[in-house]
Subunit: 325 residues, 2 copies
Amino acid sequence: MATLKDVARETGLTVSTVSRVLNNRGYISEETRKKVYEAMKKLNYQPNEVARSLSKQVTNTIGVIVPHIRHPYFAELISCIENAANKKKHKILLFNSKDRDEKEMEFLDMCISNRVAGVILCSGSVAMESFQGINVPLITIERNLEGGTAAVECDNLQGGRLAASHLIECGCKKIVHISGVSGISMPADDREVGFVEVCNEKRVEHLEVKTDFKLYNAGYYNEFLEEVLLNHTDIDGIFASSDLIAAQILQVCAKLKIAVPEQIKIVGFDDVLIASLTAPSITTIHQPIKEMAGMAISLLLDAAENKVVPNKVTLPVTLVERQST
Amino acid sequence: MATLKDVARETGLTVSTVSRVLNNRGYISEETRKKVYEAMKKLNYQPNEVARSLSKQVTNTIGVIVPHIRHPYFAELISCIENAANKKKHKILLFNSKDRDEKEMEFLDMCISNRVAGVILCSGSVAMESFQGINVPLITIERNLEGGTAAVECDNLQGGRLAASHLIECGCKKIVHISGVSGISMPADDREVGFVEVCNEKRVEHLEVKTDFKLYNAGYYNEFLEEVLLNHTDIDGIFASSDLIAAQILQVCAKLKIAVPEQIKIVGFDDVLIASLTAPSITTIHQPIKEMAGMAISLLLDAAENKVVPNKVTLPVTLVERQST
């Protein structure tokens, strides 16, 4: 592989001049610049980012740890994070923790060893003390972590309120909220709080059902949902805390011959691809995933430059009406 | 940040002994090993992978370039690639090309500059000459590239044959294949070849419809599909070249009040999450995505060690029967 020295030899310039061209430092004539680029091309010279990173002690790489890449919400989020990072000339190292604490710790260690500029954590339940001694910015998206640099969330409370209000406006008399995970504190828990608030304000009969971690990790809720519908035949509105759950409610309704939206109206959460791919398509609460990803990258890079950043940013959600209500 | 020297000082051992422990080289007593790990923990020492990579001139990082992270097929593929890489103690740098050639070139350059162990390319149409001078293994998944190290594909021809045979066995009299992309040569084109072969063998009326790159990149086929169904009202079976398209056919059928599977039977391709999330769920051709990802990683690492690797590996597909047929 050609080195900086080879480029210098080819051009007849000094190594330091070539280095100045590459790093865009100091005055360089157009002619010199052109000569260097031509030699680089001819010799197929590739700057060594590894060496560059070593001298800077930090890379332009961002570690991203998610629990489930294949979950439509995280697939969408990763896509937006990569896009935002790319615009800032950063790359992403992606890790799939499958929500195992020991994997998250291993990945965090790998991020640190690889001198990442920062870490975006969208996963799990690692205890605060595990992060001690980590001196890179640590940005969380939609999860609770004491001791992180900054948390990016959507307005989950508002989302729950919007969903309940919409179902009630559609004429529902008994509505249920099916939440994603019980037993672990998540920003998403506020969806239920908002939902209950509105039900109580409007005096509408309501019910809250929690799924569990095992179902969440499997992504398969069908049997659980069928039981809910069979046990509560008077339900006429459902607010699911993800579009993934909402899609499976549609399947169960089809199986039980319950017409949607005629007999039961359904509101999801996230507004990921799947919400517009079902028949009927799913009315949902739109998480501003693109903006959340952009915010996470921007907070991370600011914090890496030792700028003061907010420790929590909440972005607004909106109701997207489709065919399920 | 603590250095190797600090760990040596803390333990009273030499730097070279500590380094031998870290690299698992030579004989080290259990007592010494324990002492080093305790000191590392106490000082919060993190080995510098960047420095290590510089001395090896290659990292344990694999570049992965996909056209659309949020596409369910690629989300699934990335998840499996990350998992397979992780098992071999490698990390993935993920790039989303959105099928723009110039982005793919930029990402390839970034991979080389960052001294990746190899690149897995699942995207685009970059010309062969662009890869000249790239001396790391370049593994493609489901795309054509002359000059790559190795290509991993599923048996697309067999997939097309299975789909056509199944529709015909279900009693379909006029079947149509809707393909993903026209105008660019892809291994997936063989799905149509297999489909046509079986239709001709069984003398069943058939039709082939191609979507285009713009629809593929948008992931939105609804209007196009509605036109197909309205123009060919005698179709009773459809083989879609992705589950994403199949899901949208279900939507159009719901809109046009065509009962699935009673009036039209549908077979998808890929067997991604969405195929089991629709109502009715989608009969599909299962791509062995997990095995393809594992094979890509294994070929890449073998090639990186200068082992001879096959330049093409084709993995078998299977028919998964669900409710749409």
